[in-house]
Subunit: 265 residues, 2 copies
DNA sequence: CGGAACTTTGACACATATCAAAGTGTGTGG
DNA sequence: CCACACACTTTGATATGTGTCAAAGTTCCG
């Protein structure tokens, strides 16, 4: 039963964010088109889906790049000047915000197909730190370019609005409930949310790696490390899931959904 | 010390949402322009701010209307077809979502200057119910018209993105913290958030009406009615606030901020 | 004035935080 | 290649905050 897929957690090895470095190596759209077709984001990646039905002349102006972010590296930091959105191609990121008392709060996570950086549009500076918890790769989507493109392609503009709206609704739903949920409901929600999001990209929805530490999970769910651990143990004892460190297998989705209970209709 | 400003809470008197009725009485932009100049939303109201620097020919195509929503009436209901955003001119709305177990969860509130309906853009149906808790008035902003207008006016498009981004950031910040805050921190956060939002429109930031019931406040904050009441009492005993039913006066903002403690930096 | 809705307050139960100690896995250096 | 150090996890015992249940008090409106 030993799992070698589990990864050691990230030692404290802060590095410079890669965001600025990335912007130096733009890729012409012509090259990108082929890449996008094989990209696992497909119609989830904002520009990719739009580009397929794009008139070539408009597309020619769209320039972007991709980059790898290794485990433990920052994608961007809070306060940095906003310049681009990022589409996750593969990997796992956490978003953390600094609290007044100096501690970190995990405010979200992103996996393949998710878009990061939306928090920076309003204030024109990124509003949180994003750190790769696994070796990851992102599409860099310079915002100015996206805006210009959206200006000419109504379907793309609408796509953006939908994406952001979806983000708002998801957060309203997922986050606000937290306040009224107990530990088991919270953890069940996280596992099922992860499962659903993995499934949306063709990954296994019943087995996946959760590269956050128990403490990070607790920070995200508003629980203490010890409570998270206890709840994992209880779920395992009850036969709902199998846990091997960071590797999670959902054994009884139906009962797990029952535990989550009161979600939005 | 008796306050006559307090309002009786809303009896159960469901009516048809006003959203559909409103759309029948469009107002040409020419008329609206003068209205907008005296509108208390000013640069917070999305179209108003854009319209001032708008070429007249583009503006002529923009048509919208305003409408009153009386206390207890719905502005829109969950599942209704999405057609418009709403800018609150004055009043107070709550957003409620139905949980699986049949109970309501208050997911947000809106006061003058806030925009409602963003939750509907993605799914093309509104994702929650919005109810006026005071007699209110909103600007109706047909989304198709906004899209068309934004297509031609880059500054307006950018304005939308910023508005939505801000919404996302605010929710991330406000909501996610809830999970790890205790009752006093939660209530302090609500009061200070309200205060700040009132101040942003020239309303008093130290005295205001909070037309939600203790139960609704509890639903929003993830607390029980009894706990909310107790916490109000404690704040009053400690001299932080003065409470007269729904009327709140902040007596010691500094200490209230200390109670809130760990917010985002 | 009476009834309905809402609020306040008390007593007790229960879930989670806290503190603490032992256990496990991983990467590094000898 | 092994052993050690470190980071992370699990588990137990106790403390504390909030939920639950209940009863009395208040305000508002018809």
């Amino acid at each position: 039963m030993k799992m070698n897929t589990t990864v050691r957690n990230i030692p404290a090895r802060p590095r410079a964010p890669v965001a600025s470095a990335m912007l130096n190596e733009p890729v012409q759209i012509g090259l990108c088109k082929t890449i996008c077709l094989s990209c696992n984001l497909r119609d989830l990646c904002v520009p990719c889906c739009a580009l397929t039905r794009l008139e070539k002349d408009a597309a020619e102006r769209m320039v972007f790049s991709r980059t790898r972010v290794r485990r433990g590296e920052h994608l961007y930091r809070c306060g940095e000047r906003f310049g681009a959105l990022f589409g996750v191609r593969y990997g796992f990121f956490k978003s953390v915000s600094l609290l007044k008392d100096g501690r970190d709060q995990v405010t979200g996570y992103a996996i393949a197909g998710d878009v990061m950086g939306v928090d920076g549009i309003g204030p024109e500076r990124y509003a949180c730190n994003t750190v790769a918890l696994e070796d990851s790769e992102v599409c860099v989507l310079p915002f100015a370019g996206l805006l210009a493109l959206a200006q000419e392609i109504p379907s793309l503009q609408r796509h953006f609005y939908k994406m952001m709206s979806r983000e708002i609704v998801r957060e309203q739903g997922v986050m606000l409930q937290l306040g009224s949920m107990n530990a088991e409901e919270r953890l069940a929600m996280l596992l099922l949310d992860l499962s659903k999001r993995f499934a949306a990209h063709g990954c296994s929805s019943s087995e996946f790696n959760l590269p956050m530490t128990r403490e990070e999970v607790g920070s995200y769910l508003g629980l203490k490390l010890a409570t998270v651990s206890r709840t994992f143990s209880k779920f395992q004892d009850d036969g709902l899931i199998a846990v091997q460190q960071k590797f999670i297998r959902i054994r009884d989705r139906v009962r797990l959904e029952l535990v989550m209970g009161r979600g939005l209709v």
